[in-house]
Structures are given as structure tokens and as C-alpha cells.
């Protein structure tokens, strides 16, 4: 073993360092962001640390490397924050290009500075060996392991799966993306410092585009949905050349060819990365979930929940919603019906804060509507919703979907999880209890472990409702929840909705199934061409001639869409 450690000391160290670098990509990929700035951030961290690392331990006790790491991580995080301010609004390939450009800017800048040695590079003392590198990797891996099951970790995964749905569950998407960005910067800075103080030399050209791509490949090959992924990726890619050398593959083109081929196989057959090979650990707590926690009481029946006055929305020249007045009081089940294109979805998007109104005034759960009000604020204030097109976090389990829904009513646990405080575990169990109660409520408790994307259409509809309920909403908005359900299922849903109302939840229901609306709701509002053409109790609406003309005349065709 000692001989092995000696002969492969550098490979073993690189395995750890490459792993750390891959974690800096994992940090953003887990939130669905493709950033390529990490090489530049690592470079900035490494060179800045060279300016401050003292010749002897600081104050005689703080090791030199610790000083370097602290500064490198701080520089990486700070630069990532500054970069994040302008680029955080970008997505996908645009974000990748912007961050790539940033990395190039850093490289050009550093190469033209005399304190970095320019293209000649800079020598560093050797302060890193196997123990330091692996300790750093262990700390980073531990961080991401504990992050995984925390409220923050779930929120990041939710953003990765569906940003809009995450927003609707009360997650501040911009802030969370920035958190992942800054974390990535800090880890990248750590990598830069460790690398420079291990290989004893760094030049700005070594932190270019190809370095960034290498890091990205390592993270993706390992897998971006499980904390162990980057470690697997670095194991795979670090040992591949060594392995080929050991089994005597002739030096030359055949080696990169074989490496490329294996990489291709992994990507083709393991889209989830090497981490997909690891069987999912079952959560022990699920056998005996706690009872749902005591949550603050919902508003007393009759309390005003939403009040809209002359609300308008125009898209170009199209008036999707015109001068709509709408009042919803606690305890009501308000049905919103109207033909296709009547403006129903636009109206609920306004109510839930996803779309700012073009004109008019409105207050929802105490929050005034307007362009400056982010959707997550309204969600946090107590508005929860489902979507016409199902928006689940498909790769997360049904239970995790509902746990994200509980974001609003659970407390941050990451820092307490880091130090293994029992109170964090209690909070997690409480959130689990809340989530399980909702799954049971919609009849999905036995499918809690399945990925949401694998559920049947009807189950996905019900899961969305469970997720919305987990937020303990004051106002629950259901956008065509019965679409695709048969008579029996629609009836069960109707029973569930009335039971919710009895528990004090106010419901705004959009539905094409008019029979169901009439049987469920306490009040019905009819929209046509963006205007309210009738409102009242179900019996009155069913007889209103304007409604019959505009909409109910087609009841036979539309009552039960296929």
C-alpha cells in the first residue's frame, strides 16, 4: 500500500483536486445553470493567494496553506458574485457564453500583469500533498452531501427541474441561483489554490477554455444529481490514462481515442452520469413519518383574500384580460369558466404574480400586484397553484416534489445539518410529515418514492395538488385539475376540493368540466373575451342566458374532454 501511495502520489492527489474542481461545476449544475467561469475564478484565486501567503505560519499558528485557501475562496466567491449581478438573468447557452467570456477576460487580464509573471507564470511553494488535497475534497463533498437533503438543496434541485414551478412554490429563484453561483466561485478558488500549491507552478494560460470544459465534463460524467457524482467523475477521468499506461496501451493517439470512446459510452448509456449506478438509499424516516406539524391557522371565513379592480392585460394588441373586477373571500370555492382563449389562465397568472397586470389595481393575500412584485413573494404570502400544463419536478421523487412545496412552511436546515444538530433532523422530519400528509390526502402515499415523471397522467395532476397543498396555502389556485380525468376521478377530486374548503383553504378553480364546477364551487365567474360576463352562485349561472349562449351551449362537447 505504501508503495502504491508513493508510485501514484500525484495521481491520487490529482484525483482529489479534479474532484474539487468538478464540485465547482456541480454547485451550479445542481441548480440547472451552465457556467464556464470556474477556470477563470480558480486562476484569480490562485494568483491572488500568491500575494498574501506568508513565508511562515501566520501568528505562528495558522498554516500558510490555510491563509491561501481562505483568500482564494474569498476571491473566487467575490468575483462570482460580481459576475453574477449582470449575468444571473441569463439562461442556458447564453449564460455559458457570458461566463466563458468572463473566464477569458480574467486570463487576458492576469497575463498582462507583472505580479502574475505574465505568460511565464509563477512558481509556488509546495504546500499540498495527498492529505491536504483529500481533506479539502472531503470537506467539499461533505458540504454537498449535507446540502442535498436540506431545504436549500431541494430548492436548487427544484429550480433545475422547473424554474417557474419553483417560483410558484415560493422559492426566490434569483437569490438561490446566486447562492449556487457564489458557492461555485468559492470552490473554484479553492481548487486554484490547491492546484498551484501542489504543482508548484501556475500560468494564466493553464486556466483557459479547455480547463473549463474538462471540469464540466468531469462533473457531467460523474452525475449532477447526486453529491457523489463529481468524485466518481474525477476517479474515472484521472485513472483512465494511468490505467491505459498500466495495461500497456502504446503511447500516442490510441489513448485519447479510447478515453473519448469510453466518455461517449458513459454519456450515451448513463445520462445521469456514473452516479446513476448507485442505488438510491431509502429514507429511513419514511416508515414512520411524523404527524403533520402544527401550522398557523388559515384566515377566518369571509376574510378578503383577493381583490382585483379593473385589472387589464394586453399582449401587443391582444386584450387577454379587460377591466376585470374580482373579489375572493376566505372559505370560498370560486369557479372560473369560459371558452378557450377567454383569458382564464392569464387572470390566474396575474393573481399568482407570474404575470404583472398592464393596468388596474389588485391585492392578493395582502400583497399589491404590480411589475415589481416577484411571484415568489406572493407564493410566500400564501398563494399556491397548479398549472394547466403539468409542471412537476420530473426527476425528483413524488415525495421530494411535495417537500419542495413545503418550502414556505419549513425552516432552512443547511447550516444546522452541517454540524449535525438534532434540531435540523427534527425540522426535516416535520417537513416530511407535512409532505406525507398531503400525499395521503390525494391518495399517493404508496407512490412517494417514484420519480414524478414516471407517474400516470392522473397521478401527476394529483401530485401537483399535493405539492401546492404542502405550502399550507391561504389561496389554492387549480388550473384545470380535472383535465384528462374520467367521471369517477373528477368526482373524487370534487370531493377533495370541498374537503379542503372545509379545512379553511380558499380555492380558485379553473375548469372546462362545467358539471364539476357547478357541483364543487360556491360561486362561479364566467369570462369571455377577457371580460367577466356573469358571476354568481352555480344555480344562477347555469340559467344565465348570456352564459348559455357564450359557453354552456357547447357543454355537451366540452364537458368531458378526451
Amino acid at each position: 500500500m505504501a508503495g502504491f501511495l508513493d508510485s501514484y502520489a500525484s495521481t491520487i492527489t490529482f484525483m482529489a483536486l479534479t474532484g474539487v474542481f468538478a464540485y465547482s461545476f456541480y454547485a451550479v449544475l445542481m441548480a440547472g445553470q451552465l457556467s464556464l467561469a470556474q477556470a477563470g475564478l480558480a486562476s484569480a484565486g490562485a494568483f491572488t493567494s500568491s500575494l498574501v501567503v506568508p513565508a511562515a505560519p501566520l501568528f505562528g499558528v495558522i498554516p500558510r496553506l490555510v491563509v491561501g485557501i481562505a483568500v482564494g475562496m474569498a476571491v473566487g466567491a467575490a468575483l462570482a458574485f460580481l459576475l453574477g449581478l449582470p449575468v444571473m438573468r441569463l439562461r442556458g447557452v447564453f449564460l455559458a457564453i457570458a461566463t466563458l467570456a468572463f473566464g477569458e477576460v480574467v486570463r487576458i487580464l492576469l497575463i498582462n500583469q507583472s505580479w502574475t509573471g505574465g505568460a511565464q507564470g509563477l512558481s509556488f511553494p509546495k504546500l499540498v500533498g495527498i492529505p491536504e488535497a483529500w481533506l479539502a475534497l472531503a470537506v467539499v463533498a461533505y458540504w454537498f452531501w449535507r446540502l442535498g437533503g436540506s431545504r436549500l438543496g431541494r430548492a436548487l434541485a427544484a429550480i433545475r427541474e422547473d424554474e417557474l414551478a419553483a417560483k410558484a412554490m415560493g422559492i426566490d429563484v434569483t437569490r438561490h441561483r446566486m447562492i449556487s453561483f457564489v458557492t461555485s466561485g468559492a470552490v473554484a478558488g479553492l481548487y486554484g489554490v490547491l492546484l498551484a500549491y501542489f504543482v508548484r507552478f501556475a500560468d494564466p494560460n493553464a486556466f483557459g477554455f479547455s480547463t473549463a470544459v474538462d471540469g464540466l465534463v468531469t462533473a457531467v460524467v460523474g452525475g449532477t444529481t447526486l453529491f457523489i457524482g463529481p468524485l466518481l467523475g474525477s476517479t474515472f477521468l484521472t485513472w483512465l490514462p494511468e490505467l491505459q499506461r498500466a495495461i500497456g496501451v502504446e503511447a500516442g493517439w490510441i489513448r485519447p481515442f479510447v478515453s473519448g470512446l469510453l466518455l461517449l459510452l458513459v454519456i450515451l448509456f448513463l445520462p445521469g452520469g456514473l452516479a446513476a449506478l448507485i442505488p438510491h438509499r431509502r429514507r429511513r424516516a419514511m416508515a414512520h413519518p411524523d404527524a403533520p406539524p402544527d401550522l398557523p391557522p388559515l384566515p377566518a371565513p369571509g376574510t378578503p383574500i383577493a381583490s382585483l379592480r379593473a385589472i387589464r392585460k394586453e399582449y401587443g394588441g391582444v386584450h387577454a384580460v379587460r377591466d376585470v373586477d374580482l373579489d375572493i373571500a376566505a372559505g370560498e370555492i370560486v369557479g372560473l369558466i369560459g371558452p378557450n382563449g377567454a383569458g382564464k389562465t392569464t387572470l390566474v397568472n396575474i393573481v399568482s404574480g407570474l404575470v404583472p397586470p398592464s393596468g388596474g389595481e389588485g391585492t392578493v393575500v395582502g400583497i399589491p400586484l404590480g411589475s415589481g412584485v416577484p411571484a415568489h413573494r406572493i407564493a410566500l404570502a400564501g398563494v399556491s397553484r397548479t398549472f394547466q400544463q403539468i409542471k412537476l419536478f420530473n426527476r425528483l421523487s413524488a415525495l421530494d416534489n411535495v417537500l419542495v412545496g413545503a418550502h414556505r412552511v419549513s425552516r432552512p436546515t443547511l447550516l444546522r445539518r452541517m454540524v449535525l444538530l438534532p434540531s435540523a433532523r427534527r425540522d426535516e422530519k416535520r417537513a416530511l410529515g407535512q409532505a406525507f400528509a398531503q400525499l395521503t390526502r390525494v391518495g399517493l402515499a404508496d407512490r412517494a418514492r417514484l420519480p414524478a415523471g414516471d407517474l400516470s397522467y392522473g397521478d401527476q395532476r394529483r401530485l401537483e395538488i399535493a405539492r401546492a397543498l404542502a405550502a399550507h396555502p391561504t389561496l389554492l389556485i387549480l388550473d384545470e385539475p380535472a383535465a384528462g380525468m374520467n367521471h369517477v376521478e373528477a368526482h373524487r377530486l370534487s370531493v377533495l376540493i370541498r374537503a379542503l374548503a372545509e379545512d379553511g383553504v380558499t380555492v380558485l378553480l379553473i375548469e372546462h368540466n362545467v358539471r364539476m364546477v357547478l357541483e364543487t364551487c360556491t360561486r362561479v365567474v364566467v369570462l369571455d373575451f377577457g371580460e367577466v360576463i356573469a358571476a354568481g352562485d352555480p344555480a344562477t349561472i347555469a340559467r344565465d342566458p348570456r352564459v348559455v349562449e357564450a359557453y354552456l351551449g357547447a357543454e355537451d362537447d366540452q364537458a368531458e374532454p378526451a
Binding site: M1, G3, F4, D6, S7, Y8, A9, S10, T11, F14, I108, I111, N112, G118, A119, Q120, G121, S123, K126, V199, R200, F201, D203, N205, A206, T235, F236, W239, P241, E242, L243, R245, A246, I247, A251, G252, W253, R255, P256, L262, L265, V266, F269, L270, L274, L277
Partner: protein
């Protein structure tokens, strides 16, 4: 599908695990251990060592610097063949690839030093890789002979690091001196790419040599190694009417730079660093290359019996002309042989001792002496392009 993917990945993981176990066993079977197997009897040409001397070579056979590494490999293999035919002392040369990646270079160096117990390591191809790999050998007390590193700060890494490649700092003063004698330079414009270690150190050497020769630099213009359009900078250069244009650039930039300089009407001599020392210059720039002055560590037109023999043997084996990289790698192993024979020992310490004492060894690079700082002391060749060919500047 799921099963297939599982088994493929399973196989990959298994293979990794196996390699981790297997490699432990292959360690320490080399000729190390400090026994006398590597010591022989006799001295010089009569030296006889029964065990082949284990030599490791690290070149960039793939990746960005692959074209250099390929030449080095050919030169080295030719030398090993010739030494084997000569007999007495043979060499077990293991050539490894660093894939132009310093991390792999470090791993290979470590294997050579610790596991394979090589008596000496030749390489690596690039200077910036050497700055990361050579400390590993220095710590492991394994001599290294660099055969292509030209940057400053390589042999300073430690007393086990040697090189046979002339630095820019050694070639360029001779180039400037010869050019001054020939063209009577008094003021020049300097252009260089400042984002490459090699060209940047070339610039430093030029500046020092120009100052030493009392030549005024009227303008210093920088560009990036990836640039291809220099017309704007060349117009600025032309405006100050220099006696010569001094450039430090890689061949990729050198070709368009020289071509465009002639286009904008710069007719004075263009003096280049080692980056210009490539047949690609004439192939790419054509007639525009005429009048370009290049200093080099080696030129095929150099005189000397060793160089003539090298050229003949190389052409016979590879049916192609060698370049400077092949010549330096070829010479490298010949120098190692000279050091081994001097002490009739393939032990690391003995090779180190006798490499440092090499003096006036006739080689393809000319008469070779190892300087006190373990650097090459050989004459540079100052060439000028005439009718599309390098000729010695007289």
C-alpha cells in the same frame, strides 16, 4: 437498455479497481535499489555494462504540442538504435506521452522516479510543463535532461536538471551580434506576442541583446499569439523607419506577420526568434520570407561529421528531413551515453556527476559543453532566408 448500460459501467468500475490493485504489484521491479547492476567495467568506448540502462522520456505525443513531440520521438529512437548497434552499453528507452497536459506529465515523471527507477528522464517537451514536472525528479534525485525547453528558470529548479537545448537567451545575442555586423543596425522596432511564455522570454532576450549592442528600440508593439492580422501594427512600425524589424512570435503568427510586413512595404531585414526556425516559414510566406534572419540552435546546413551522419541516418530511417527538435532529442541520448561511459555507470548519481562534466563533445549540435549552470554551451547558427532556403548568414 438499462441492463446493458449497467454492465458497461460496471465493467469500467471493475477495470478501475483492477488497475488500482494490479499496479501495486508491478512496482519496484526496475533496476534500481542501488545495486551495482548498472555499473560496468572499462571506460569510455571500452565500457561494458550488462544491464540495459533504464531511461524514461516524456514527450507531448498528443495534444497541442504533438508535432514537436513526434519529431523528438523519432530523433530519440534513432539515437537508441545507433547506440544499440554500437554495443557495450545499451539503453532501455521508454517513451511516454504527457498529452500536452502538465498533470499527466507530473504523473509520468513520478512513475519514472518512484516506480520504474529510471536512471535519467529526457523531456518534457514544453517549458511550462517542465516547471511542474522537474521538481518531482529533483526531489527524487533523478537526473533530467531537457532537450527542447528554452525558457528561463528550468535548470534553476535544481542540480539534477540539465539541458542540451540552447535558450533564447543564448541564441539571440549571437543573432543580434551577427545581424549588427552585417546590416549595421542602429534603431529597430520590436514586435512580440506577450501571451506566450516562449515568445515573451524571446522578447526579454532581444531587449537585453539590443541594449548590450547599443541599438535603440524606437517602438515596442505587442500582439496575441492567436492574431493573424498585423497590418495596423506594421504601419506603425514602418512609420518610424527602423533599420530592422525584430520579432518574437510562434510560427503560426510569423507567417502572416512576415507576409504582411512585405505587403505594407517594410523591406528592411526581419529578425526572428526560434519560433521562426521552421521550414513552414518559407512554405507559408513564400518570397516574402527572403531576408528574414533567424538564430537557431541547429541547422541542417551546419558543418560537422556528426551532423552529416545524423542527417544521413535520419533520412534513411524516416525518408524525411529532421528538424531542430529531432536533432536535440537525438543529441540528448548521445550526451547521456557519453556521461554513462565516462563513469561506466548507469547509476543516477554517476550520470548526474558526469553530465555536469561534459566538455567539447562532438555532436550534431556542434561541440557541446555543459555549462556551470547545467545549460548547453554550443554555437548558435545565424541563418538568413535566401531564395526560399535557410543559409548561414555571413
Amino acid at each position: 437498455m438499462r441492463r446493458l448500460s449497467g454492465s458497461i459501467a460496471g465493467a469500467a468500475v471493475l477495470a478501475l479497481a483492477l488497475s488500482a490493485c494490479g499496479s501495486g504489484n508491478t512496482a519496484t521491479t526496475g533496476g534500481g535499489g542501488g545495486t551495482s547492476a548498472l555499473k560496468g567495467t572499462g571506460t569510455g568506448d571500452t565500457c561494458k555494462i550488462t544491464t540495459p540502462i533504464p531511461i524514461g522520456a516524456v514527450f507531448s505525443l498528443t495534444g497541442a504540442a504533438a508535432s514537436y513531440g513526434e519529431s523528438q520521438k523519432k530523433g530519440l529512437e534513432l539515437a537508441a538504435e545507433e547506440l544499440k548497434a554500437k554495443g557495450g552499453v545499451t539503453y532501455d528507452v521508454k517513451i511516454e506521452d504527457d498529452a500536452t497536459d502538465p498533470q499527466q506529465g507530473i504523473a509520468v515523471f513520478e512513475g519514472f522516479v518512484t516506480k520504474d527507477k529510471k536512471s535519467l528522464i529526457i523531456g518534457p517537451t514544453l517549458s511550462n510543463t517542465a516547471k511542474q514536472t522537474d521538481p518531482v525528479a529533483q526531489e527524487g534525485k533523478t537526473p533530467v535532461l531537457a532537450v527542447s525547453n528554452t525558457a528561463a528558470g528550468i535548470t534553476e529548479i535544481g542540480d539534477y536538471i540539465f539541458r542540451d537545448s540552447l535558450t533564447e537567451g543564448a541564441v539571440i545575442p549571437q543573432t543580434i551580434k551577427a545581424a549588427k555586423d552585417k546590416f549595421g543596425l542602429s534603431k529597430v522596432v520590436v514586435m512580440y506576442s506577450n501571451d506566450d511564455a516562449f515568445t515573451e522570454s524571446g522578447y526579454q532576450a532581444f531587449k537585453k541583446a539590443l541594449d548590450a549592442n547599443g541599438i535603440t528600440i524606437t517602438k515596442t508593439i505587442t500582439f496575441s499569439k492567436s492574431d493573424t492580422d498585423f497590418r495596423a501594427q506594421l504601419a506603425v512600425a514602418k512609420a518610424s523607419a527602423p533599420d530592422a524589424l525584430i520579432t518574437s512570435a510562434l510560427i503560426e503568427a510569423a507567417v502572416p506577420l512576415v507576409t504582411q510586413a512585405r505587403e505594407v512595404g517594410i523591406t528592411v531585414p526581419i529578425i526572428g526568434g526560434n519560433g521562426f526556425n521552421s521550414p513552414k516559414l518559407m512554405a507559408g510566406a513564400g518570397k516574402a520570407a527572403d531576408g528574414v534572419v533567424v538564430g537557431a540552435a541547429w541547422n541542417s546546413a551546419s558543418s560537422g561529421a556528426e551532423n552529416a551522419a545524423f542527417l544521413t541516418a535520419y533520412r534513411a530511417k524516416y525518408s524525411a528531413d529532421p528538424d531542430q527538435f529531432a536533432a536535440q532529442a537525438y543529441t540528448g541520448l548521445k550526451l547521456v551515453d557519453a556521461a554513462v561511459r565516462a563513469g561506466c555507470s548507469g547509476e543516477r548519481e554517476d550520470i548526474k556527476k558526469h553530465l555536469a562534466e561534459l566538455k567539447d563533445v562532438p555532436t550534431a549540435l556542434g561541440k557541446f559543453t555543459m555549462s556551470a549552470t547545467r545549460d548547453a554551451d554550443t554555437p548558435a547558427v545565424v541563418q538568413v532566408v535566401e531564395s526560399g532556403k535557410f543559409a548561414v548568414l555571413k
